[in-house]
Amino acid sequence: MYSGSRVVGWGAVTAYLDHAATTPLRPEGLEAMLPFLTDGFGNPSGSHAVSRAARAAVDEARDTVAEALGCQPGEVVFTAGGTEADNLALAGVVGKRGGTVVCSAVEHHAVLHATHALGGRVVAVDGDGVVDLDALAGALDDGVSVVSVMLANNEVGTVEPLAEVAEVVRRRAPGAVLHTDAVQAFPWLDVAALAAPADLVAVSAHKFGGPKGVGALVVRAGVEIVPLFHGGGQERDRRSGTHNVAGIVGMAAAMRATVAGRQAVNERVGALRDRLADGLLAAVPGAVETGRRAGRVAGSCHLRFPGVESEALLVLLDDAGVCASAGSACASGAIEPSHVLTAMGVPRSEALSSLRLSLGVTTTDDEVDLALKAVPAAVEKLRV
């Protein structure tokens, strides 16, 4: 659990509400990893006892991940995170079969920028951030080889209708495969069931209590991809590089814990989120909630405070011990207007007045109480 704050320098934090950026390592994840950072140091791609021990741990983790994602163990490709998994999905398919990529306008940059780099097309969304199925149908033809629509959005939490998307793809581009970025969905949604219509599924460990730098891509049997890089041919020639054994084991343990507690966490955190969002909407004049709450994952609270600059708001919240975010941070650390909000038709000035409070497994009543005090106070200060 996160408690040793002094060492890493965030001693004053009293409300961490940025779980969509990253969420603390689950105790189960940490515990599972530790042996593989010490005695269990073996390279799984070997034949001796030390290697075999590492191999067994990776195999076991693969079984756990496969179950949590609703696939066969052989369909799991371990990667160095969600961005690599998304890139492997898109570039892997295009590299194998050629053709065009089509994705939604609210995808994470890992998909959006990969789509641009591959010369693909982007499909519009509605005011709630839900992909426009008619526009999708219009964008599809026989030249499309892969369609990418996320399961849940990272900024506003919108859950996309993946089954309907799959239906449109089957009808309009029967030769294309469907990829879904389930990175933000996994903490909240039954990905095994909801991503079943997808041929490729990406997840990232640190969004659900695993360590950073590890993720997975489900590549269903029959879907052929080329690897992103060349090397020793690990992961059945789909992803070379020595396995991050501790990371993989930690991810699997966090997955198991997430799946086991998911329903209860949804109920508890969903109620906290509703209290937070309703409280802020009532306390701050002019506050607007982005999109329809019913269609969003339970941890997502996205609000806009017209006339207030989110960049300044975040500084005051930081001073008050509240960690939140707005838009997405670029390489310099500056906050950029969100492409997600732009795609949803939110005017630029309002997009720059947004606040994302994302709750997670560890979120407490006290944290919500603090945010309910700190946000209205900060907004009032900035509106003077």
Binding site: E311, V315, C330, G333, A334, I335
Partner: protein, 341 residues
């Protein structure tokens, strides 16, 4: 005091932050991201932000990045291009100071509860009773009071310039003594959004229409040559104007007429320069006041009289390009500034 230091990632603002900490202030650093396009460095590259963040970490202070790219485009870059299209030569660094550092940044600092902002400029703010004076920095060769000459009392009251008392060498010594990674970093040069390789043409070319023009002799009126783009010519410029045995200078630029008037060094002299958008550090200076006036960042100040609308040089000076800032001084004290009409 709670002080927000504008940290560019250079040595001066690094030391400014360190000096304020030593003086016992509560210090937070912030770097403005102003320009997202091509540039050599200057104020806003990722590397500069990283330098600022590293210095903040060394000093143990909080560091933020403020994204002011929209305002920079609207208040500095756009007007810069528009002014060139109209045959004027603005100073974008001054406009950046006017609209970004000492308006947008200062405003945000006040909203965030800071008592003052600080920058690494080599100039001095001196309290004088309940008023504030703006003076040249201690290092005459590095003095930057010119680029601050548009400031008024409301800004000076909230501005600290901690390195103004030091020489540049002194600043570098302090940075080295503190082990700051920016100690030996070269000074930023020129405009951050104009690259040294592409120059103004590469920047302006895609933004405004560039028109070829004629060079016309100031005395005879005859056409003596051509330029590829009248919008890129600055009054006083020598490069590209030269024909004949004597050095030639741009005396006037007429963009609609696609004409640049050229003349000798004598032709480019003027007895004065009318100013617009004049602002005063304190009370307006009465007509007839003897001043020294400086027409570029590192130009030599020249003796003149302020006549209420124009600077009248004691001896003729090189013409000031329209749009350039002219700063007026009494000794080392800034009186005010205006833009050459």
């Amino acid at each position: 005091m709670r002080v927000l230091v504008a940290m560019s990632g250079g040595v001066d603002s690094s030391v400014a932050a360190a000096l304020l900490l030593e003086a016992g202030h509560e210090v937070v650093g912030a770097t403005m991201k102003l320009w997202g396009g091509a540039g050599d460095s200057g104020c806003c590259s990722v590397a500069d932000v990283e330098d600022a963040r590293a210095v903040a970490r060394q000093l143990g202070i909080t560091h933020h990045v403020f994204n002011f790219t929209d305002d920079f485009e609207a208040r500095v870059v756009g007007p810069y291009a528009a002014a060139h299209a109209a045959g004027r030569t603005p100073n974008p660094c001054i406009e950046c100071n006017r609209h970004l550092k000492f308006d947008r940044f200062l405003d945000r600092a006040v909203k965030l509860g800071f008592d003052a902002v600080a920058t690494g400029h080599h100039a001095r703010v001196a309290p004088a009773g309940v008023r504030y004076e703006l003076r040249r920095g201690a290092d005459g060769a590095k003095d930057q009071s010119y680029v601050l000459s548009m400031l008024g009392q409301s800004q000076l009251a909230r501005l600290l310039l901690p390195v103004g008392e030091l020489t540049k060498a002194g600043v570098r010594d302090r940075a080295a003594a503190l082990g700051l990674r920016t100690a030996a970093k070269p000074d930023s040069q020129d405009v951050c959004f104009v690259t040294s390789t592409g120059g103004r043409e590469a920047f302006l070319g895609p933004r405004i229409a560039l028109h070829p023009g004629r060079l016309v002799d100031a005395v005879t009126g005859s056409v003596v040559g051509a330029v590829p783009a009248v919008e890129l010519v600055t009054v006083g410029q020598r490069r590209g104007m030269g024909v004949g045995t004597e050095r030639r200078y741009a005396v006037a630029v007429d963009v609609p007429g696609r004409t640049v008037t050229v003349g000798t060094a004598a032709d480019v002299l003027a007895g004065g320069v009318a100013l617009e958008q004049v602002s005063w550090v304190d009370e307006p200076v009465p007509a007839g006041t003897e001043v020294t006036a400086q027409a570029s960042a590192h130009g030599a100040p020249a003796a003149a009289t302020w006549d209420g609308a124009a600077v009248r040089w004691d001896w003729p000076q090189r013409r000031v390009a329209p749009g350039q800032t002219v700063a007026l001084y009494a000794g080392d004290r800034v009186l005010g500034a205006g833009l050459a009409a």
